[in-house]
Symmetry: C2
Subunit: 199 residues, 2 copies
Amino acid sequence: MKIITIGREFGSGGRELGKRIADKLGIAYYDREILTEISKKTSLAEEYITQIIERKPSVQYPITIANSFGVYDSDLNKTQNKIFAEQNNVIKELASKSDCVIVGRCADYILRDQKPFRIFVYSDMASKIKRCREKGEVGADLTDKQIKRHIKAIDKHRKNYYNFYTGLDWGNKENYDIMINTSDKLIKDVVDEIVKIFK
Amino acid sequence: MKIITIGREFGSGGRELGKRIADKLGIAYYDREILTEISKKTSLAEEYITQIIERKPSVQYPITIANSFGVYDSDLNKTQNKIFAEQNNVIKELASKSDCVIVGRCADYILRDQKPFRIFVYSDMASKIKRCREKGEVGADLTDKQIKRHIKAIDKHRKNYYNFYTGLDWGNKENYDIMINTSDKLIKDVVDEIVKIFK
């Protein structure tokens, strides 16, 4: 049984890397599919779940505040915790069905008893900005500075979310089996390069 | 032309990983061989060079002090700089001859124009202590606490040495293409695992 989890900085190409690995190995790939499952189980709309899990850092404020004041039971946090609990179930269920690659969502932590192979993908800022533009993940009218702010905000949120639920430090090398730098590289070439060296 | 450089924490198995990669690829492997070359070129005894380059942190003190006071020209530092300059030449010469794996010695920085594939190998403390014992790299009579102190001192020295000569931060993910965690794993299995996933 092989479970591969992928943590990734926004714009580092982690999704594509995950897909390529899943395709090559002929195993399942889960990313947004997980939200659909949670939606079915909680009867909450998928968009609402996305909003709660991946909400913009501006509305993420309450968690941090609640945390530092020792107040955990706001309605927003109750919903977030409920969704996280459901996400736990969904991820464990998916991982028990077959070998798979799971991107994000604290899967490395949730599945820790199964000893997944934990990958973290990162990149320098210039490459992340370039990749965001090319993939059309940000508005075409944004300046580099605006994209940079957007990337930083998302990664800050990912870090807060991960650290809050796992008690570990997102992006810290201790928590991964391998860390891959995709700066100035095509994801396809990253995979080829690794294969060439370790084959 | 493929140059692979390996930075590594003491006890992380970086040497063995480098050797395995070199053997698999059928390319040259340089580690201590570099000291022998420097010895030939500088007419300094190999042991003396080792002592200067890899000297114990207790005598490494002068560099740090000299650095913070802006004093660089003590005799010790002159010798160290001379050896570093010669190491530069030797590493460039070796890398120009054929594909190779070079362990340590700021080779990633020295060869930066050739865009080497830069690996960093790390491990948790328990695994490093275990590996040091098994490889007999430390006295069999040492306690875990003593080995831990020894490992920390060597890594601190490696970091100081690397940061001093490169202006970069040793072990910081930005400076490597891939970071490999060897905690609780045999080096053989680490390579096999990566091959299995990226093949």
